[in-house]
Structure formats: C-alpha cells, structure tokens
C-alpha cells in the first residue's frame, strides 16, 4: 500500500483510529498528548507515539502550533494518516522537524484504505509513503 505524503518521513507505531474528526487545538493537550475535546468520544486517549488515523481534521487553524508543541514535549503522534489532505497538520509536522528534528510523517490514504486499518495494529511508514500494516497485536 502507498500513501500520498504531505510531509515525508519514516515512522512506526500502533494505529490509533479516531472515530470522529479532531481539531488538535482545543482537542489535544500538547503537554500530555491526551485527547481533551469534550465533544470527542475518545477523550482521555493518548496520541503519543501512535500512528494517528484521522478520517478528517476539524476546525482551528492553531492545530499546526499544537502539533509542533506536542513534538517539542515528546508526546506527538509517530505519524498521521489522513482521509483527506490537511495542510495545517502537514505544516505543523514540517515545523516540528525544522525546529526539533522530530520526524512525524503526514500522509493521505483513500478513505476505503484508511477505514481498513484496525485500531491497535502496528503500522510501518516509509519515506516514500509505503505502508505496511501488521496483523492485530
């Protein structure tokens, strides 16, 4: 499988499939990496080190800053896989790399391919957007 990379890099981690869109600003605590959006059914879940599977982003234009700050604090996701392109997250990841050398690839998959990634499985992303999705852990 191959994803379209918006910000390229290699990463590996367990998938965290968000069942609803999330705005990182107001939705993610960049100090702890926890989902804090009270409207979100997965409130309380930590995104740190996970391959965040996000069908769609939402809302605020401050999400770039929140992603970069989470990277500085060491609680950013390992990678972000999107169902639709989101330049706010791609640029947040690019700045995290420029400032801190943190590699958080951001890539887009067709919605059907994204939906086929089960929560909790190991996902390996190559710098060219190649994806290896392991069986359930």
């Amino acid at each position: 499988m191959r994803a379209r990379t918006l910000h390229a890099g290699a990463a590996r981690g367990r998938a965290l499939v968000l069942v609803e869109p999330l705005s990182l600003w107001g939705g993610l605590d960049p100090a702890s990496g926890e989902v804090i959006d009270p409207h979100h059914p997965q409130r309380g879940t930590s995104v740190a080190g996970r391959v965040l599977v996000l069908p769609a982003a939402r809302g605020s234009s401050s999400s770039s800053s929140v992603l970069a700050e989470a990277a500085r604090a060491g609680v950013a996701p390992a990678a972000i896989l999107l169902g639709e392109p989101d330049l706010i997250l791609a640029v947040g990841a690019a700045v995290a790399q420029e400032l801190y050398g943190a590699v958080i690839p951001v890539a887009v998959l067709a919605p059907e391919a994204l939906a086929a990634i089960p929560d909790g499985v190991e996902v390996d992303i190559g710098p060219d957007g190649s994806l290896i999705v392991a069986g359930p852990l």
Binding site: H7, S62, R72, I88
Partner: protein
C-alpha cells in the same frame, strides 16, 4: 508533484533573502504539496494567527524567523493573542504565561505585522480585501468570512503557514484560490417547519452554523431558504460555528453572499452532489448540544455571560447598548464583551464604550475570554450567544456553558438568573 517556481521563488528558497525567507518558502511548498498546486501565485494581504501562544514551540518558531531577518512583504494583520495588551490587569493567570504571550504578540509586530490583535480583521475598513482578491488568511472564522462574505480568496491556512505566506507573498494556486474550488457541491435547505420568527432571530445563525459544519465537513455548501441580505454579523456567526463543528472554509448563503445571488450561481452551473433539508428538530438538537451544562432551568443562577466571539462589531456593541437600555448588570454576574482595539476606539468615540461600562459591562480587547483565565472564577455556568465560545470553552477554560440568544444573555446578566425567551425555538 513538482511545484513550478519562478526566479524569485527559487531565490527565496536558496536563501538569497535570508534563512527565514528560505524557511518560509519551504513551508509554502509543503502547503502547495498538500493542496496539489502546480504553481504559486502572489497575494496582496495576510492575516496571521501564529501570534497566539501555544507553548515554547510558538516562541521558538518566531525566534527562528527573527534570527533569519524575516519581514512580511504584504500588509499583514494579527489575530488575537493571549493577553489584552491595553488592559493587562484583566489576566488572572500566571505571570510567566502572560509574559510569554506578550513576547509572542510583540515578536510578530516586529516582523512588520500590524498590531490589530483581532479574530475579525474583516471589521477593519482598511484591512478588508475586496471581491476576487487573493490573500492568505488564518483563523478559522476569518477564513470562512473572507471567502464567503467578502468573496476574497484564501485557503484554510493555519499557524506558521500564515506568516510563511506573508513573508514570501506567495500562496499555492489551488483550492479556494481558484474559481472551480469555490462552487458549492452540497445544498442545505431550511425546512418548512422552521418558524418565521426563528429565521428573523440572531440566535438561529450560530446554531445553523453548527449544523452546516457537521453536514458539510470540509465541503463548500450553499444554504437555501434563508431571508435575503443577511447581516454581516449573522453570516459571521454562521461561519464561526461551521468552522468549529466542521472544517468549513467557505459557504454560500443564497441571496446574501456575493458569489451566490442565486443558487445556480453558487453551484456554478453544475448539479450538486447532494441536497439535504435542515429541519427544526436538527436545529434544536444542535442548540441543546451547545449547552455543556445540560438543561438548566429558567431562574437558575448564572455566574458570567460572555459575548463577542468572534469579536463584536460596532453594530453589535450598539445592539448590546440598546438592549441594556437603562438596566445594569447584576452585581453577582460578570458580563464580558470581547472586541478589537480598533472597534473599541470607534466605540469610545461614539460614547458607546462609556455607556456599556456604566451599565457594568467589561470590555476585553486583543484576546478572547475562552483562551485563558480572564473571567472571574465561578462554580456556576457561563452563558454565551456564541456557538464557537460554547464549543471551545469547556475544554479550554473548564467552563460549564449555557447557550442562548443575545437577548437571553443580556436579560440573564441583568436579572442574575437564567432568563429564557419562551417560544423562540417553537418549543411550545
């Protein structure tokens, strides 16, 4: 996909104008890649949201720009920051955060940005882009207003990208910058069961925006069945809510917004992929979901009332003044109105600010009451007429929210107890 660059773009990327301009160009290219743009185009203005403090990373970034000799190349306005720099005593948080927030706000000013510190730059006559103008705006409510109400063209830019576009003067030629990207692909029609009185009430519009955001996600939708020539303040409320509940960057209100004199214009002559109706039940459900405090009975005590999200316009300050009349805010309630320093200056000139303060209203500028500890701490619910405030305040400042119309908010502030306008939503 490779983005075609001209000589100036290449020179910037190669660092010929300094390291900061090269960094800015790299970020513009990430944006271009995300939008699948084939080239970059020039902009005439920018609105920058990066001046709001979100931790050390936001300071590290601006320091990198300043060390690399960055300057904005187009007229650039600034969004809200952490602090009211004109009334810093209104901050109730720790001094360290205040100092960092202030440093960030001032650092962006030093890059050549105009210190407007408002989420509603479209209310400043000399900062409003005109129909068809290509700009780079951040701040979700400003983006949707710019595209929808002004007919100027911006993509959904965020922190870092905004200042990168302002420095380079370039944006990707894609998405909402192109005529094709601005066509509605979804039609949402107001259902026949929505009462006439509600269509004429301010309270409908933020709630309608919540539904728009949920239904549209990131698509451009056309809203049909609304009264024509809706005020800018009502359209502001729709857009701010839709950009909170969804990723809406543009909508058309048929008969009100400049690219939608008719539904056919909004659709650009193409049949919509989807047509849906918005009924009263869906609106009431969206309204109720905005009250995180749950169902609070009329007569229950309310701790504070927050108005002016996005920043109140001069017309809204006038409306609040008129509605209050000779009444005063109850001593146990805090009534706070957020606006911009420029609108406040106009309100001072017209005597409105004095009348509001005399009535017990607190006026906040440069920031917003849901961004940090500004409201007096209260165990009681906080009331607002803003869907955006209702959406973000519970997570941001731990407020328990009651949503209501502006009139309900003001009567509540005067009486100190929740006042409801029975029948507004056709509930009985």
């Amino acid at each position: 996909m490779a983005v075609a660059l001209d000589d100036r773009d290449r020179a910037l990327l190669a660092g010929e104008q300094g390291d900061a301009a090269a960094l800015a160009m790299r970020l513009v290219l990430v944006a271009a890649e995300s939008l699948r743009a084939e080239r970059l185009i020039p902009i005439t203005r920018a609105h920058v949201d990066s001046c709001l403090y979100h931790g050390q990373a936001t300071l590290d970034f601006v320091d990198r720009l300043r060390e690399g000799d960055a300057r904005v190349s187009v007229p650039t306005t600034l969004n809200v920051g952490t602090l009211d720099l004109l009334h810093p005593e209104l901050w109730r948080g720790d001094a360290e955060t205040a100092a960092r927030g202030r440093r960030l706000m001032e650092a962006y000013r030093a890059l050549g940005c105009r210190p407007t510190y408002t989420c509603a730059p479209y209310q400043l006559p000399d900062a409003r882009p005109s129909l068809g103008e290509q700009v780079a705006w951040a701040e979700s409510n400003a983006i949707v207003f710019c595209n929808s109400v002004l007919g100027a063209r911006t993509e959904r830019y965020g922190d870092f990208t905004d200042i990168a576009c302002a420095i380079t003067g370039r944006v990707p030629d894609a998405g909402l910058h192109q005529t094709d990207g601005r066509r509605a692909t979804l039609v949402l029609r107001i259902g026949p069961d929505v009462p006439e009185r509600l269509l004429e009430a301010d309270a409908l519009y933020p709630v309608l925006g919540v539904v728009l955001g949920r239904r549209a996600g990131g698509r451009v939708a056309a809203l049909g069945g609304l009264p024509p020539n809706l005020s800018e303040d009502r359209l502001k409320a729709v857009g701010a809510a839709a950009a909170s509940s969804g990723a809406v960057a543009m909508f058309h209100a048929v008969g009100s917004t400049p690219e939608a004199p008719t539904l056919a214009d909004a659709l650009g002559g193409v049949s919509p992929a989807l047509e849906l109706e918005i009924g009263l039940a869906e609106l009431r459900e969206a309204r109720d979901a905005l009250s995180s405090a749950g169902s609070v009975a009329p007569g229950a005590p309310i701790g504070a009332v927050s108005l002016g999200t996005p920043h109140a316009s001069l017309a809204e300050l006038q409306g609040i003044t008129d509605e209050l009349g000779a009444d005063r805010v109850a001593p146990e309630v805090e009534l706070l109105v957020s606006t911009s320093r420029d609108v406040l200056a106009a309100a001072e000139e017209q005597g409105l600010a004095t009348r509001l303060r005399d009535a017990g209203v607190e006026l906040l500028v440069d920031t917003c009451s849901y961004l940090g500890p500004i409201l007096r701490p209260t165990p009681l619910p906080v009331m607002t007429d803003s869907a955006k405030w209702a959406w973000y305040a519970p997570a941001n400042i731990g407020a328990s929210v009651v949503f209501g119309s502006r009139r309900e908010c003001l009567r509540t502030a005067v009486e100190g107890r929740l006042w409801r306008d029975a029948g507004l939503w056709g509930d009985r």
